[in-house]
Symmetry: C2
Subunit: 301 residues, 2 copies
């Protein structure tokens, strides 16, 4: 319970929590297991509490330790952001930019946009973090976010690039085998593809037909990309953005007239990034490219 622990100890601590073992953390940190063990000992001594219950199977964090994890993660995110900012020095066309988006956007929409950006700015390294968490920008887990909901935080610069319409689709093999619903009530006889536990994703879609609920999903998965793969494999009927689905001729629209909803598409970055050349460059490029995407032109369409 003495002076402030070295910040190194926090880094080690975080990695041990993530990894669940001293040995594993040591490998990732390019240290050795005894060193990592000593770091944990030192941090426990310094904070005056027990952080892990040790066992031959690994280290299990105590409840007290779990409370501290988010702070260590904040430090890690800030450290990574600092390094990105430092990369490339002052020059606008060098360095690293980190983008976050959903898996679907990241795999189906962004790649051609990022490719053309790299063509124009070969000195800029791109990082792509695919997930559905919305707090990434505040914590500086990423420099730019492409999201389907309006960012609420005040310190973000957000631009709405348009709306992307969504409809239901099925693979043509599925349609041949099982037929297609003529009306929404027919959904009960079909296999719907939808989210598993991520009801936030479901709710963010806004109003859906009554039958489109978790109970009626015959295939559930929280990865929108895996849902799309299942759709393409003929598992069942699932939602998809029109501008993506149209690239796959084997996908046939389902009840296109009856069901139609839209998601807004937003690009956002942290306020402080406005003056960082390379981030601004990519921000504008993505805004333009996504705008073309939602209008149905370009982006591989």
């Amino acid at each position: 319970m003495q002076g402030e622990p070295g910040w190194e100890l926090y880094r080690t601590f975080l990695e041990v929590v993530r990894d669940g073992s001293l040995s594993g953390a040591a490998r990732k940190l390019s240290l050795t297991q005894p060193t990592v063990g000593r770091h944990v000992d030192a941090l426990e001594a310094s904070l005056g509490l027990s952080l892990f219950s040790r066992s031959p199977q690994g280290l299990k964090p105590t409840p007290a330790a779990l409370e501290l994890v988010s702070y260590a993660e904040t430090m890690a995110a800030a450290s990574a952001a600092l390094r990105r900012t430092a990369s490339g020095g002052a020059k606008a066309d060098r360095g690293t930019v980190r983008v976050t988006a959903s898996e679907m956007i990241g795999c189906e929409v962004l790649p051609p946009l990022l490719a053309s950006f790299r063509d124009s700015h070969p000195g800029i390294t791109l990082e792509l973090a695919l997930n559905n968490r919305n707090e990434d920008l505040l914590r500086r887990d990423a420099d730019i976010a492409v999201r389907m909901v309006r960012p609420r935080q005040k310190s973000l610069v957000a631009r709405r690039v348009g709306k992307s319409a969504i409809g239901f689709y099925a693979h043509r093999n599925y349609a041949e085998k099982y037929g297609l619903p003529k009306q929404i009530a027919d959904f009960e006889k079909h296999c719907l593809i939808g989210f598993d536990r991520d009801d936030l994703a479901l709710r963010s879609l806004g109003k859906l037909p009554g039958l489109v609920t978790r109970d009626n999903f015959g295939f559930r998965c929280d990865s929108d990309l895996a849902q799309f793969s299942a759709l393409k494999a003929g598992v069942g009927i699932g939602g998809c953005q029109h501008n993506i689905a149209r690239r796959f001729p084997e996908l046939v629209p389902v009840l296109a007239k009856a069901i139609r909803f839209e998601l807004e598409v937003w690009v956002a970055m942290h306020e402080d990034m406005r003056s960082t050349g390379r981030v601004r460059l990519l921000f504008d490029h993505l805004a333009a490219g996504l705008s073309a995407f939602v209008r149905g032109v370009g982006a591989g369409g």
Copy 2:
């Protein structure tokens, strides 16, 4: 431009920026000047850019270095928050809680509340950070904030404890010497006490009489507490919360009928803190005590 710099280097870097010299930073960090110098060298080598221009008068950060400061500050705030959370272990009535408020609230209103809290919970250490920045909670610079504006961030738990009415006052010596204005137009002949550069503070007061602008202030200071001291010293006419001013019999109200405005009083904490016993204890205590304060009872009234 090699691997990730040790987090220790960031801590040293931040202290060198704040201090402007290797020697000064060394003193604060309980290191020595050569060590601090080596840390800076190592960080520059690792990031691949020049961070300071060295001189016998100290080190001046380069523009590139200044871009990185906020990230290092985020790390420092997270580190401090981690240590506060770790303090006291799991027990609700031990550990450290950090409160932020304006100087005025912190000096005139909170002390008796904090005193009674300490009486009930002697095991809890209190920290008080007085300033007018509103982002403190998000960055975890503090655990609880007492503010006069509604916190906007989604991840905060905020409670409005009431409204505090404000009016103009002057010291009775001033009134004897210069008389008191009979109407707002008379303000021109008097010395008004107000903010210097902090127009945010001024604007947050809402609608003010037309003559209460920076140009008409005969005494300008961004510290509300120093303004209050000037008011008590008879410098001029200034605004003050009624519930504070009434404790000082030598202060006489000015145009109390004609001018009256109110500020909301809010207590806020980070969502994650709700489950941290000691923070919750103080949050509730402050909410109750401030509620009594705005109603004009207790708090030394």
